[in-house]
Protein backbone atom coordinates (compact mmCIF):
# COMPACT_ATOMS: atom_id res chain seq x y z
CA UNK A 1 0.00 0.00 0.00
CA UNK A 2 2.69 2.61 0.84
CA UNK A 3 4.08 2.15 -2.67
CA UNK A 4 0.68 3.03 -4.09
CA UNK A 5 0.36 6.20 -1.99
CA UNK A 6 3.81 7.31 -2.99
CA UNK A 7 2.82 6.98 -6.61
CA UNK A 8 -0.38 8.90 -6.06
CA UNK A 9 1.55 11.81 -4.58
CA UNK A 10 4.05 11.74 -7.39
CA UNK A 11 1.29 11.81 -9.97
CA UNK A 12 -0.36 14.71 -8.16
CA UNK A 13 2.94 16.59 -8.16
CA UNK A 14 3.49 15.99 -11.85
CA UNK A 15 -0.05 17.02 -12.74
CA UNK A 16 0.25 20.21 -10.74
CA UNK A 17 3.54 21.00 -12.45
CA UNK A 18 1.87 20.65 -15.83
CA UNK A 19 -0.95 22.91 -14.65
CA UNK A 20 1.66 25.37 -13.42
CA UNK A 21 3.36 25.55 -16.81
CA UNK A 22 0.00 25.93 -18.54
CA UNK A 23 -1.03 28.72 -16.19
CA UNK A 24 2.25 30.59 -16.68
CA UNK A 25 1.82 30.29 -20.41
CA UNK A 26 -1.71 31.62 -20.10
CA UNK A 27 -0.68 34.59 -17.97
CA UNK A 28 2.22 35.56 -20.24
CA UNK A 29 -0.17 36.26 -23.08
CA UNK A 30 -1.13 39.86 -23.72
CA UNK A 31 -4.52 39.72 -22.07
CA UNK A 32 -7.24 41.41 -20.07
CA UNK A 33 -7.77 40.20 -16.53
CA UNK A 34 -10.48 37.58 -16.11
CA UNK A 35 -13.31 38.40 -13.72
CA UNK A 36 -12.22 36.07 -10.87
CA UNK A 37 -8.84 37.78 -10.91
CA UNK A 38 -10.45 41.20 -10.90
CA UNK A 39 -12.65 40.17 -8.00
CA UNK A 40 -9.67 38.90 -5.98
CA UNK A 41 -7.73 42.06 -6.74
CA UNK A 42 -10.51 44.38 -5.70
CA UNK A 43 -11.22 42.49 -2.49
CA UNK A 44 -7.56 42.45 -1.53
CA UNK A 45 -7.31 46.09 -2.52
CA UNK A 46 -10.05 46.91 -0.06
CA UNK A 47 -8.28 45.05 2.76
CA UNK A 48 -5.00 46.72 1.81
CA UNK A 49 -6.63 50.12 1.97
CA UNK A 50 -7.82 49.44 5.53
CA UNK A 51 -4.34 48.47 6.69
CA UNK A 52 -2.51 51.01 4.59
CA UNK A 53 -4.09 54.19 5.94
CA UNK A 54 -2.94 53.90 9.59
CA UNK A 55 0.48 52.59 8.56
CA UNK A 56 0.96 55.52 6.23
CA UNK A 57 -0.06 57.99 8.93
CA UNK A 58 2.65 56.70 11.25
CA UNK A 59 5.29 56.66 8.51
CA UNK A 60 4.18 60.11 7.37
CA UNK A 61 4.72 61.52 10.85
CA UNK A 62 8.38 60.51 10.86
CA UNK A 63 8.84 61.85 7.35
CA UNK A 64 7.37 65.19 8.47
CA UNK A 65 9.90 65.49 11.25
CA UNK A 66 12.63 64.98 8.68
CA UNK A 67 11.13 67.63 6.43
CA UNK A 68 10.94 70.25 9.17
CA UNK A 69 14.73 70.25 9.38
CA UNK A 70 15.02 71.54 5.83
CA UNK A 71 12.17 74.00 5.98
CA UNK A 72 14.19 77.18 6.45
CA UNK A 73 16.49 76.59 3.49
CA UNK A 74 13.65 75.59 1.24
CA UNK A 75 11.57 78.57 2.24
CA UNK A 76 14.35 80.97 1.26
CA UNK A 77 14.70 79.33 -2.14
CA UNK A 78 10.98 79.26 -2.75
CA UNK A 79 10.58 82.96 -2.00
CA UNK A 80 13.10 83.77 -4.70
CA UNK A 81 11.29 81.52 -7.13
CA UNK A 82 7.92 83.06 -6.35
CA UNK A 83 8.73 86.32 -8.09
CA UNK A 84 9.76 84.53 -11.25
CA UNK A 85 6.59 82.56 -11.04
CA UNK A 86 4.32 85.59 -11.12
CA UNK A 87 5.70 86.86 -14.43
CA UNK A 88 5.61 83.36 -15.87
CA UNK A 89 2.01 82.94 -14.81
CA UNK A 90 0.97 86.13 -16.60
CA UNK A 91 2.79 84.99 -19.72
CA UNK A 92 1.11 81.60 -19.66
CA UNK A 93 -2.31 83.18 -19.31
CA UNK A 94 -1.88 85.37 -22.40
CA UNK A 95 -0.45 82.47 -24.40
CA UNK A 96 -3.31 80.22 -23.39
CA UNK A 97 -5.87 82.80 -24.43
CA UNK A 98 -4.14 83.39 -27.74
CA UNK A 99 -4.00 79.66 -28.36
CA UNK A 100 -7.70 79.30 -27.67
CA UNK A 101 -8.54 82.15 -30.01
CA UNK A 102 -6.42 80.74 -32.78
CA UNK A 103 -7.97 77.31 -32.33
CA UNK A 104 -11.42 78.83 -32.49
CA UNK A 105 -10.46 80.53 -35.75
CA UNK A 106 -9.43 77.16 -37.16
CA UNK A 107 -12.54 75.40 -35.79
CA UNK A 108 -10.21 72.92 -34.13
CA UNK A 109 -11.21 72.59 -30.53
CA UNK A 110 -9.84 69.15 -29.66
CA UNK A 111 -6.21 68.63 -28.96
CA UNK A 112 -4.00 65.68 -28.13
CA UNK A 113 -2.75 67.71 -25.22
CA UNK A 114 -5.99 67.95 -23.24
CA UNK A 115 -6.56 65.34 -20.63
CA UNK A 116 -8.82 64.52 -17.70
CA UNK A 117 -6.87 63.76 -14.54
CA UNK A 118 -7.96 60.88 -12.29
CA UNK A 119 -6.43 61.21 -8.82
CA UNK A 120 -5.33 57.94 -7.24
CA UNK A 121 -3.49 56.79 -4.14
CA UNK A 122 -0.97 53.97 -3.94
CA UNK A 123 -2.33 51.19 -1.73
CA UNK A 124 0.24 48.48 -2.32
CA UNK A 125 3.37 47.40 -4.06
CA UNK A 126 4.60 44.13 -5.47
CA UNK A 127 6.69 42.88 -2.53
CA UNK A 128 8.85 40.47 -4.54
CA UNK A 129 10.01 43.30 -6.84
CA UNK A 130 10.96 41.19 -9.81
CA UNK A 131 8.82 43.67 -11.62
CA UNK A 132 8.28 47.10 -10.10
CA UNK A 133 4.53 47.56 -10.00
CA UNK A 134 2.27 49.54 -7.70
CA UNK A 135 -1.42 49.06 -6.97
CA UNK A 136 -3.62 52.15 -6.94
CA UNK A 137 -7.17 52.61 -5.68
CA UNK A 138 -8.89 53.62 -8.93
CA UNK A 139 -10.19 51.20 -11.54
CA UNK A 140 -12.43 50.81 -14.54
CA UNK A 141 -15.38 52.18 -12.60
CA UNK A 142 -13.54 55.49 -12.39
CA UNK A 143 -12.63 55.46 -16.07
CA UNK A 144 -9.18 53.88 -15.93
CA UNK A 145 -8.24 51.72 -18.91
CA UNK A 146 -5.27 49.57 -19.82
CA UNK A 147 -2.15 51.43 -21.09
CA UNK A 148 -3.15 54.86 -19.79
CA UNK A 149 -0.33 57.17 -18.71
CA UNK A 150 0.37 57.62 -15.01
CA UNK A 151 2.06 60.80 -13.81
CA UNK A 152 3.02 62.66 -10.67
CA UNK A 153 3.20 66.47 -10.69
CA UNK A 154 6.90 66.18 -11.69
CA UNK A 155 6.40 63.97 -14.71
CA UNK A 156 5.61 60.59 -16.18
CA UNK A 157 6.12 57.60 -13.87
CA UNK A 158 4.50 54.69 -15.63
CA UNK A 159 1.50 53.23 -17.35
CA UNK A 160 -1.51 51.18 -16.37
CA UNK A 161 -0.70 47.52 -16.81
CA UNK A 162 -4.06 46.07 -15.88
CA UNK A 163 -7.25 47.72 -14.68
CA UNK A 164 -9.85 45.85 -12.67
CA UNK A 165 -13.11 47.34 -11.44
CA UNK A 166 -11.91 49.29 -8.40
CA UNK A 167 -8.13 49.00 -8.44
CA UNK A 168 -5.46 48.94 -11.08
CA UNK A 169 -1.84 47.91 -11.43
CA UNK A 170 0.69 50.45 -12.63
CA UNK A 171 3.90 49.38 -14.31
CA UNK A 172 6.65 51.84 -13.41
CA UNK A 173 8.99 53.24 -16.05
CA UNK A 174 11.90 51.54 -14.30
CA UNK A 175 10.34 48.18 -15.18
CA UNK A 176 9.58 48.78 -18.84
CA UNK A 177 9.84 45.71 -21.05
CA UNK A 178 10.20 45.35 -24.79
CA UNK A 179 6.46 45.24 -25.36
CA UNK A 180 5.69 48.55 -23.75
CA UNK A 181 7.40 51.30 -25.65
CA UNK A 182 6.47 54.93 -25.24
CA UNK A 183 6.56 57.37 -28.11
CA UNK A 184 8.42 60.52 -27.09
CA UNK A 185 10.22 63.52 -28.55
CA UNK A 186 13.11 65.76 -27.66
CA UNK A 187 11.97 69.35 -27.50
CA UNK A 188 14.04 71.77 -29.55
CA UNK A 189 13.96 74.02 -32.59
CA UNK A 190 13.15 70.89 -34.52
CA UNK A 191 11.49 68.19 -32.48
CA UNK A 192 13.26 64.83 -32.65
CA UNK A 193 11.04 61.79 -32.26
CA UNK A 194 12.01 58.47 -30.71
CA UNK A 195 10.84 55.62 -28.51
CA UNK A 196 11.44 55.14 -24.81
CA UNK A 197 12.66 51.55 -24.58
CA UNK A 198 14.08 50.23 -21.41
CA UNK A 199 15.85 51.51 -18.35
CA UNK A 200 19.51 51.65 -17.42
CA UNK A 201 19.64 50.50 -13.82
CA UNK A 202 23.22 51.61 -13.21
CA UNK A 203 22.68 55.20 -14.34
CA UNK A 204 19.01 55.13 -13.24
CA UNK A 205 18.02 56.67 -16.52
CA UNK A 206 15.62 55.88 -19.35
CA UNK A 207 16.79 54.99 -22.83
CA UNK A 208 15.34 56.91 -25.78
CA UNK A 209 16.08 54.92 -28.92
CA UNK A 210 15.40 54.99 -32.66
CA UNK A 211 16.69 58.56 -32.97
CA UNK A 212 17.96 59.35 -36.50
CA UNK A 213 21.73 59.55 -36.65
CA UNK A 214 21.84 63.09 -38.02
CA UNK A 215 19.38 64.49 -35.49
CA UNK A 216 20.70 67.26 -33.27
CA UNK A 217 20.19 66.38 -29.64
CA UNK A 218 22.00 68.22 -26.87
CA UNK A 219 22.30 67.79 -23.15
CA UNK A 220 19.69 69.46 -20.91
CA UNK A 221 17.00 69.32 -23.60
CA UNK A 222 13.60 68.21 -22.38
CA UNK A 223 11.93 64.97 -23.40
CA UNK A 224 8.11 64.83 -23.57
CA UNK A 225 5.53 62.27 -24.65
CA UNK A 226 4.51 62.72 -28.27
CA UNK A 227 0.98 61.37 -28.01
CA UNK A 228 1.47 59.51 -31.26
CA UNK A 229 1.09 55.82 -30.52
CA UNK A 230 -1.57 54.54 -28.16
CA UNK A 231 -3.54 56.57 -25.67
CA UNK A 232 -0.98 58.87 -24.08
CA UNK A 233 -1.70 62.59 -24.41
CA UNK A 234 0.88 64.89 -25.95
CA UNK A 235 3.32 66.90 -23.89
CA UNK A 236 3.62 65.00 -20.60
CA UNK A 237 7.11 65.74 -19.28
CA UNK A 238 9.37 62.69 -19.03
CA UNK A 239 12.88 63.91 -18.33
CA UNK A 240 16.05 65.63 -19.39
CA UNK A 241 18.76 64.51 -21.82
CA UNK A 242 22.00 63.67 -20.04
CA UNK A 243 24.01 61.76 -22.63
CA UNK A 244 23.87 61.01 -26.35
CA UNK A 245 25.71 58.12 -27.96
CA UNK A 246 25.48 56.03 -31.13
CA UNK A 247 23.77 52.65 -30.73
CA UNK A 248 25.64 49.37 -31.11
CA UNK A 249 25.29 49.24 -34.90
CA UNK A 250 25.96 52.95 -35.37
CA UNK A 251 22.82 53.51 -37.43
CA UNK A 252 20.79 55.38 -34.86
CA UNK A 253 21.40 57.28 -31.65
CA UNK A 254 20.61 56.35 -28.08
CA UNK A 255 19.75 59.17 -25.71
CA UNK A 256 19.91 58.80 -21.94
CA UNK A 257 17.03 60.56 -20.23
CA UNK A 258 17.04 61.41 -16.55
CA UNK A 259 13.40 61.23 -15.37
CA UNK A 260 11.95 64.34 -13.71
CA UNK A 261 9.85 62.24 -11.37
CA UNK A 262 11.22 60.02 -8.65
CA UNK A 263 10.40 56.56 -9.99
CA UNK A 264 10.66 54.89 -6.61
CA UNK A 265 9.14 57.17 -4.01
CA UNK A 266 5.53 57.43 -5.13
CA UNK A 267 2.52 58.01 -2.87
CA UNK A 268 -0.11 59.76 -4.96
CA UNK A 269 -0.42 59.60 -8.73
CA UNK A 270 -2.60 61.03 -11.45
CA UNK A 271 -3.95 58.71 -14.11
CA UNK A 272 -4.29 60.58 -17.37
CA UNK A 273 -7.32 60.11 -19.58
CA UNK A 274 -7.06 61.77 -22.97
CA UNK A 275 -9.91 64.15 -23.70
CA UNK A 276 -9.93 63.35 -27.42
CA UNK A 277 -10.78 59.71 -26.63
CA UNK A 278 -13.63 60.82 -24.39
CA UNK A 279 -15.21 62.97 -27.10
CA UNK A 280 -14.79 60.20 -29.68
CA UNK A 281 -16.52 57.79 -27.34
CA UNK A 282 -19.38 60.23 -26.77
CA UNK A 283 -19.82 60.65 -30.50
CA UNK A 284 -19.98 56.89 -30.98
CA UNK A 285 -22.52 56.55 -28.22
CA UNK A 286 -24.61 59.34 -29.67
CA UNK A 287 -24.69 57.61 -33.01
Amino acid sequence: MPQFFLNKRLILLLVSMIVLVALIGFSLKDRQLTWPEQFLKDTTGFVQLIFHKPAQLVAGFFENINDIKNTYKENKLLKERLEEYVTLEAQVQTLKKENENLRALLHKTESLRDFIPIQATVIGRNPERWRETIIVNKGEQHGVKKDMAVITPEGLVGKVQHASQFTSTVQLLSALDQNSRISAYVQGKENVFGLIEGYDEKRRELLLKEIPFDAKVKKKQKVLTSGLGGIFPKGLPIGEVTKVEPDQYGLTKVVYVKPFANLYDIDDVIIVKRKIDETLQEKEEAE
Binding site: L13, L40, V47, P127, T169
Partner: protein, 172 residues
Protein backbone atom coordinates in the same frame (compact mmCIF):
# COMPACT_ATOMS: atom_id res chain seq x y z
CA UNK B 1 -13.74 35.07 17.84
CA UNK B 2 -11.05 32.49 18.54
CA UNK B 3 -11.86 30.75 15.28
CA UNK B 4 -10.87 33.83 13.29
CA UNK B 5 -7.44 34.22 14.81
CA UNK B 6 -5.57 32.07 12.29
CA UNK B 7 -7.12 33.59 9.14
CA UNK B 8 -6.56 37.04 10.60
CA UNK B 9 -2.87 36.32 11.20
CA UNK B 10 -2.56 35.00 7.64
CA UNK B 11 -4.17 38.11 6.14
CA UNK B 12 -2.06 40.35 8.32
CA UNK B 13 1.20 38.70 7.21
CA UNK B 14 0.06 38.80 3.60
CA UNK B 15 -0.91 42.49 3.56
CA UNK B 16 1.99 43.70 5.69
CA UNK B 17 4.47 42.44 3.06
CA UNK B 18 3.15 44.90 0.53
CA UNK B 19 2.80 47.78 2.99
CA UNK B 20 6.30 47.15 4.27
CA UNK B 21 7.78 47.58 0.81
CA UNK B 22 5.61 50.62 0.17
CA UNK B 23 6.60 52.44 3.34
CA UNK B 24 10.27 51.48 3.34
CA UNK B 25 12.27 54.69 2.77
CA UNK B 26 13.16 54.84 -0.90
CA UNK B 27 16.87 55.54 -0.61
CA UNK B 28 19.83 54.07 -2.49
CA UNK B 29 19.66 50.98 -0.33
CA UNK B 30 16.15 50.29 -1.59
CA UNK B 31 17.04 50.92 -5.21
CA UNK B 32 20.21 48.83 -5.31
CA UNK B 33 19.31 45.96 -3.01
CA UNK B 34 16.16 43.89 -2.93
CA UNK B 35 14.93 43.33 0.59
CA UNK B 36 12.01 41.04 -0.08
CA UNK B 37 9.73 40.48 2.92
CA UNK B 38 8.61 36.86 3.11
CA UNK B 39 6.52 37.22 6.25
CA UNK B 40 3.72 35.05 4.94
CA UNK B 41 6.12 32.20 4.23
CA UNK B 42 7.37 32.40 7.82
CA UNK B 43 3.77 32.21 8.99
CA UNK B 44 3.15 29.27 6.66
CA UNK B 45 6.12 27.26 7.90
CA UNK B 46 5.16 27.92 11.51
CA UNK B 47 1.58 26.87 10.77
CA UNK B 48 2.83 23.67 9.18
CA UNK B 49 5.01 22.99 12.22
CA UNK B 50 2.58 23.90 15.00
CA UNK B 51 -0.93 23.49 13.59
CA UNK B 52 -0.89 20.73 11.01
CA UNK B 53 -0.16 19.73 7.45
CA UNK B 54 -3.59 19.93 5.87
CA UNK B 55 -4.43 23.39 7.18
CA UNK B 56 -1.04 24.79 6.17
CA UNK B 57 -1.44 23.41 2.66
CA UNK B 58 -4.88 24.97 2.25
CA UNK B 59 -3.62 28.34 3.49
CA UNK B 60 -0.59 28.02 1.24
CA UNK B 61 -2.73 27.38 -1.80
CA UNK B 62 -5.28 30.14 -1.15
CA UNK B 63 -2.78 32.84 -0.31
CA UNK B 64 -0.38 31.69 -3.00
CA UNK B 65 -3.15 32.17 -5.52
CA UNK B 66 -3.89 35.60 -4.05
CA UNK B 67 -0.22 36.51 -4.30
CA UNK B 68 -0.21 35.51 -7.95
CA UNK B 69 -3.36 37.40 -8.83
CA UNK B 70 -2.74 40.56 -6.87
CA UNK B 71 0.99 41.12 -7.06
CA UNK B 72 2.77 39.24 -9.80
CA UNK B 73 -0.01 38.52 -12.34
CA UNK B 74 1.83 35.34 -13.19
CA UNK B 75 -0.67 32.68 -12.21
CA UNK B 76 0.28 29.50 -10.41
CA UNK B 77 3.86 30.28 -9.40
CA UNK B 78 3.29 31.03 -5.73
CA UNK B 79 0.18 28.86 -5.37
CA UNK B 80 2.30 25.85 -6.34
CA UNK B 81 5.34 26.84 -4.28
CA UNK B 82 3.47 27.71 -1.07
CA UNK B 83 1.46 24.48 -1.13
CA UNK B 84 4.54 22.38 -1.73
CA UNK B 85 6.52 24.20 0.95
CA UNK B 86 3.73 23.69 3.50
CA UNK B 87 3.73 19.98 2.69
CA UNK B 88 7.51 19.67 2.87
CA UNK B 89 7.73 21.64 6.11
CA UNK B 90 5.16 19.38 7.76
CA UNK B 91 7.02 16.32 6.46
CA UNK B 92 10.34 17.63 7.73
CA UNK B 93 8.90 18.00 11.22
CA UNK B 94 8.42 14.23 11.38
CA UNK B 95 12.20 13.91 11.34
CA UNK B 96 13.12 17.08 13.20
CA UNK B 97 12.59 18.00 16.78
CA UNK B 98 9.70 20.43 17.28
CA UNK B 99 11.51 23.44 18.63
CA UNK B 100 11.11 27.15 18.07
CA UNK B 101 14.68 27.62 16.85
CA UNK B 102 14.45 24.71 14.40
CA UNK B 103 11.24 26.18 12.98
CA UNK B 104 13.09 29.47 12.41
CA UNK B 105 15.92 27.71 10.58
CA UNK B 106 13.38 25.80 8.52
CA UNK B 107 11.65 29.04 7.59
CA UNK B 108 14.96 30.57 6.45
CA UNK B 109 15.76 27.46 4.46
CA UNK B 110 12.43 27.58 2.63
CA UNK B 111 12.84 31.31 1.96
CA UNK B 112 16.10 30.48 0.19
CA UNK B 113 14.41 27.70 -1.74
CA UNK B 114 11.57 30.01 -2.77
CA UNK B 115 13.96 32.76 -3.91
CA UNK B 116 15.88 30.30 -6.09
CA UNK B 117 12.66 28.88 -7.50
CA UNK B 118 11.21 32.28 -8.42
CA UNK B 119 14.57 33.40 -9.84
CA UNK B 120 14.61 30.26 -11.99
CA UNK B 121 11.14 30.93 -13.33
CA UNK B 122 11.90 34.59 -14.07
CA UNK B 123 15.00 33.49 -15.97
CA UNK B 124 13.04 30.85 -17.87
CA UNK B 125 10.37 33.23 -19.10
CA UNK B 126 12.93 35.91 -19.85
CA UNK B 127 11.67 38.61 -17.52
CA UNK B 128 15.07 39.09 -15.97
CA UNK B 129 18.67 38.78 -17.08
CA UNK B 130 20.13 39.20 -13.63
CA UNK B 131 23.39 37.26 -13.40
CA UNK B 132 23.86 34.63 -10.74
CA UNK B 133 26.33 36.63 -8.62
CA UNK B 134 24.12 39.71 -8.59
CA UNK B 135 21.17 37.56 -7.56
CA UNK B 136 23.09 36.20 -4.57
CA UNK B 137 24.62 39.48 -3.42
CA UNK B 138 21.78 41.90 -4.18
CA UNK B 139 18.71 39.78 -3.58
CA UNK B 140 19.27 36.57 -1.66
CA UNK B 141 21.45 37.86 1.19
CA UNK B 142 19.47 41.06 1.85
CA UNK B 143 16.24 39.03 1.80
CA UNK B 144 17.61 36.51 4.28
CA UNK B 145 18.89 39.34 6.46
CA UNK B 146 15.54 41.10 6.54
CA UNK B 147 13.63 37.94 7.28
CA UNK B 148 16.08 36.90 9.98
CA UNK B 149 15.41 40.22 11.66
CA UNK B 150 11.69 39.57 11.35
CA UNK B 151 12.13 36.09 12.81
CA UNK B 152 14.21 37.45 15.65
CA UNK B 153 11.46 39.83 16.71
CA UNK B 154 8.23 38.06 15.83
CA UNK B 155 8.86 34.32 15.68
CA UNK B 156 8.52 33.70 19.40
CA UNK B 157 5.18 35.55 19.83
CA UNK B 158 3.95 33.91 16.63
CA UNK B 159 4.84 30.48 17.95
CA UNK B 160 3.11 31.20 21.29
CA UNK B 161 -0.01 32.34 19.42
CA UNK B 162 -0.11 29.25 17.23
CA UNK B 163 0.44 26.87 20.13
CA UNK B 164 -2.43 28.60 21.95
CA UNK B 165 -4.72 28.27 18.94
CA UNK B 166 -3.87 24.58 18.65
CA UNK B 167 -4.53 23.99 22.34
CA UNK B 168 -7.90 25.75 22.19
CA UNK B 169 -8.87 23.63 19.20
CA UNK B 170 -7.95 20.42 20.94
CA UNK B 171 -10.00 21.36 23.97
CA UNK B 172 -13.16 21.62 21.88
Amino acid sequence: MKKWMLPFLAILCFVVESIFVDLWPKNDLYIDYFFVPRFFLVFLVFTAVYIGKMRAMIYGFIFGLLYDCVYTELLGVYAFAFTLIAYLAAKAMKVLYQHWFIACLLALFFITVLEFYVYGIQLLIGRTDMPWQTFCSHRLWPTLLLNSAFLLVFSYPLKQRLVKIKRLEQEH
